[in-house]
Symmetry: C2
């Protein structure tokens, strides 16, 4: 690290032969006499002056900085989410402080405390701690999970589940299976299952659900599938997985056992993850509007005054075929 002493407003003021207050006004776009403004602008240009955001933040208590607390960027959903959040924040004149928690409760808590210490203007978080509790003096918007009474943004998981069931039935599936592996904490994403089951019941369809938490491995899924293959045919002909990753793995598992996808079994996942290499979905899927979720979260955070924000905002999802269904 090198020392880095930039010119200050005082230098600009001296150079331009005006007072500090005048320079401040010019910098902040407050109207000021023509000849003064010109002199200040010239001096600013000449010295290469740049505002010191630390001094400004100290004085105004406004830092134009938002902390993004995320579990990991190894998963494309999080990576794209952070990408969209950061880009949109920048467009709105905000900076983003990235904090990776690695799914660790302790780190999550540390991040929240660190964020406050940095006097950020707000936090957008996707967390895994069951007991995270952040008082309302600080602005927080969460994604997919609830923390205290802070507003939460998610896709319409319940309807996403319904959509998957309806689509499978529409495509001719008679015996449906729902596979869920996820957070021990019940968040918005855990409504996919109820949505799916609801649609099945409404239609009077034959279905079965298996729920696992991320404490478990996925082995029970595959054991179940194995047990329900008779004479090279799976007993179920439509499967809804609560993530695209799981969808792809289930697909691979069945193919390896000679079951044809989508001829024998149709599979729908959830998320809408696009493969970086092929540009395609890994499986047919319910697509979450990631960019829209990011923008909604940012807007909610930035316009949050008092306690007007709704505790929950869920955005429309849509179905997209990805080769594992017969459409």
């Amino acid at each position: 690290m090198k020392p880095c002493d930039a010119p200050t407003m005082k230098d600009v003021a001296r150079e331009a032969g005006v007072s500090l207050g005048t320079v401040s006004k010019v910098i902040n776009g407050i109207p000021v006499g023509e000849q003064y403004r010109k002199r200040v602008e010239a001096a600013t240009e000449k010295l290469g002056y740049q505002v010191n955001n630390y001094a400004r933040g100290l004085k105004t208590n406004k830092t134009y900085c938002v902390a993004l607390v995320m579990p990991s960027l190894h998963h494309p959903f999080f990576a794209v989410l952070v990408n969209e959040l950061s880009e949109y924040l920048m467009q709105q004149g905000y900076r983003s402080l990235l904090m990776i928690t690695n799914y660790d409760s302790l780190v999550e808590k540390k991040c929240f405390s660190l964020a406050q210490q940095n006097k950020i203007d707000g936090i957008i978080a996707l967390t895994y701690s069951p007991d995270l509790d952040v008082d309302e003096s600080i602005s927080v918007v969460t994604i997919d999970r609830h923390i205290s009474n802070h507003p939460c943004v998610s896709s319409d998981n319940f309807h996403g589940g319904e959509l998957a069931a309806e689509k499978l039935m529409e495509l001719g599936c008679k015996k449906l299976l729902f596979l869920h592996i996820g957070n021990v904490i019940v968040g918005e994403a855990e409504k996919r299952g109820p949505g799916f089951e609801n649609a099945c019941r409404t239609a009077g369809a034959d279905y079965h659900s298996i729920w696992l938490t991320d404490q478990d491995t996925e082995a029970p899924f595959f054991r179940f599938l194995e047990e329900h293959i008779h004479n090279g045919k799976l007993e179920y002909d439509g499967i809804f997985c609560n993530s695209d990753g799981l969808g792809v793995r289930v697909c691979e598992f069945l193919k390896a056992r000679g079951i044809r996808i989508p001829e024998d079994v149709q599979i729908i996942g959830y998320d809408g993850i696009v493969d970086y290499a092929t540009g395609r979905y890994g499986c047919s899927t319910i697509v979450q509007p990631i960019a829209e979720m990011a923008q909604t979260a940012v807007n909610l955070l930035l316009n949050q005054q008092g306690t007007l924000a709704p505790r929950n905002t869920s955005l429309a999802v849509h179905y997209a075929p990805g080769g594992t269904t017969r459409d």
Copy 2:
């Protein structure tokens, strides 16, 4: 956004009945009389005091903040890189300011200026502007590309190319093909080709190279391949692609034309991108040590005093089979 007035050092001092300086010492771990320290700690705890990093940064001119300037997080290489950078920085007590440039020169320049305005302690950047020029008063470490005289971290691209060629030959390939599509700017990654060609020449092997820039589409590659398929057989039996993504696409293209991978043609990519769903490589590949690159970049940045840092640091790569070669 809500107002957020936290307790200040003055409050702690009053509560503890000591002076400001004493509180400062306790906060910064400077030895202080036992009973004083206890009183201050009690007061800190009671009021829930947290240091204001903006005030501290203003005074010390040290912000413990590093800007990460990256093109996008849609590509897993960048996403994982940012993940590792951010985690390691946090471990070292630094925060990371994420800036997404979307491969746009203008945005890249804006990010550099913004970063300085935020008085960050340094910048880690992966950029695409040909004319980016950052004076040396600010600490910068780049990845894969050179900016002015700032140190650059990359994987050993030249040797990676050699490795790919050697591996293909070792696996019995007689007629090799190298496909490159990349940056118009010549960065470290552009040494993969020369490495590959060098190994081919050394071994006296038959090879052909095609170079495209990212101004082009990949169409010429596929046209070339098409033209060299005769009677369902490709004229080449070993292909090195300068990225895993390209490797996967070439693989798909050939398979669609009835050519068997790896029986008829063997393919090696570059990067070592692990698919999030399967946990496997998309193709056989030269693996870049992303975590190590991240840590090296951070260490270089944080220990940068004067101009000791080497202009280039390249880290060892290794080959990993991924199903598109006969090993």
